[in-house]
Symmetry: C2
Subunit: 327 residues, 2 copies
């Protein structure tokens, strides 16, 4: 019986399977802390978010956890536990389950996260849905609606590499392992999230850039009803990306998605404390002039992103999939 066999493999692969065994896992109040919890759930669907032709089960396991830890990081939440729902075609084998959970286990061990169950069922294609719970760490509230006039716009790292890696994989082009790795094996910014939680001094806006830098900028501008001004020259872009995609690297950095960096809008005094930890100031927040928008300065040009342009450009899982060009 495959389901029972898979459960045995999972038990044997996880370093800590103490929360498994019943349909519900019990989480002790001492484990949750006293400040409340953050919860998030994100799915990865075969041929929409990944292709088994280009990602290994091991990296898929790692990525499935990291994309959820990225959302917790954007809330300054310390990851505590995850549940995993895995739906697999009948031709999946023990190797897939074992390697997938080896990847899951590695990320969980890195960040001291427990696997607290989930389920495993059949399906035509691979579906993965992870729910992640973390404890509140920052003393202040974090939401995309808290950006305000005078804030500094800060990001944690390079943008565009993941989308570039995706394009290379699609063309079966191994020109750059740096870019391909950025796509297949992203890391949640758990450590930088911890730094932010330690230096913040009031409520602030933060998101991860999983759906693209421009997407996150506009979502924060829209939710906070502000104008965000960014200088594209200040956005960190890898030399590898510029070299491999000399004509489209700016587009990839803005709209590519899946870089899983953090984007926050914080006071100048908080930014000054962040500066020494390799955070990048890319712009400022200003009052909206009647309509929330994002202005991106690119040399002498300025790209305006308002509601109409956002709707047209932002990554949309319903109209684009891995068989189309996201750039």
């Amino acid at each position: 019986m495959r389901e029972l066999e898979y459960l045995k493999i999972i038990n044997n692969t996880l370093a800590d399977s103490s929360l498994l065994g019943d349909d519900c896992a019990y989480i002790d109040p001492s484990f949750l802390g006293s400040s409340g919890i953050y919860v998030t759930q994100d799915s990865l669907v075969e041929d929409v978010h990944f292709s088994l032709n280009t990602i290994t089960p091991y990296l898929l396991g790692k990525k499935s956890v990291n994309v959820n830890l990225s959302d917790l990081s954007a809330a300054c939440a310390k990851p505590l536990f995850i549940t995993i729902s895995l739906s697999l075609p009948i031709d999946c084998d023990d190797y897939f389950v074992s390697e997938f959970y080896r990847g899951v286990n590695e990320v969980c061990q890195d960040y001291d996260v427990k696997v607290a169950g989930g389920d495993i069922t059949g399906s035509d294609t691979v579906f993965i849905s992870v729910c992640a719970v973390g404890s509140k760490c920052a003393n202040y509230k974090i939401s995309r609606c808290f950006a305000k006039d005078g804030d500094v716009v800060v990001i944690t790292g390079n943008h565009g590499d993941s989308a570039a890696g995706y394009l290379l994989l699609k063309e079966n082009n191994k020109a750059s392992s740096v870019l391909v790795d950025a796509h297949l094996s992203p890391n949640a910014q758990v450590d930088k999230s911890k730094i932010i939680s330690q230096v913040c001094d009031s409520d602030f806006a933060m998101m991860d850039t999983s759906d693209g830098l421009a997407d996150a900028l506009y979502k924060i501008a829209d939710a906070s009803d502000v104008c965000i001004e960014v200088d594209l020259d200040d956005v960190p872009i890898s030399s590898e990306l510029k070299k491999t995609f000399p004509d489209s690297y700016k587009n990839l950095a803005l709209w590519g998605g899946e870089d899983y960096q953090l984007l926050c809008c914080v006071s100048k005094s908080v930014y000054e404390k962040l500066d020494k930890y390799k955070f990048f100031k890319i712009g400022v927040v200003k009052k909206s002039e009647g309509r929330a928008n994002v202005k991106i300065k690119d040399g002498c040009d300025t790209l305006l992103i308002d509601e109409d342009i956002f709707d047209k450009n932002s990554f949309n899982h319903f109209t684009q999939d891995m068989s189309e060009d996201r750039s």
Copy 2:
């Protein structure tokens, strides 16, 4: 942009959308209680767990929540909040999302459960994964491994109706709306779970019977290393099931699955307190004779379920789907 439109529909459909808006939802410690939480996650996959030819989006929304509340009920946990991951084909429309969430909302309102986010993505078929969190209510521990010699085996209601309803739907046979409704619109035993939590006086074994009564009996026997003896005459079976499936109703009651009743093994004194609330004693727990098993008395015959028979008969999502006969 469909994803944003769907999010607006979800916001408008839910009576309480206060936890939505960011990628993570914050849950206040006062909402969690001080006794710890239970967490569970269950998925429903199109053409494995349901067919859109036979279930409406509204009933699918209700069922997606109920199957998870059923797992919380089996842990005597008071449901607090859920997250929902919904993957939809590109030809899904606003009506599907609106009706699905109308069903979700109805169950959530019935039990005072909040929707705390999730995600919505594309896919080839409909994939639903719900994570549910509840607060610990019983003063004692509950696990499938706590059945012991002398316990009384108790269930909360009829078995077999749901599987019978599934068979009728498959044959496009509307002979019995009672059976069809049992399959399409199951209810989690939240209220009976509450009664059990109030009368239990020590650690005990409980599961829901989502994968079948025989499945749950054997899983408890196996995890607790005991022998469970059941008299099939004591298992409540509806007159509708006996009338519609005179030759196979016993098989459906034992192996059918998706009845979402509770099965618990409790002391005689606890059972005496449960008796007045419409619980059904179906058997007793005895010491295992070297090997965990279940003995089901059926008139002069006794059906023995041990590891081999269990592996052969139990419902398995990897080898059986809705295109095959589960009976």
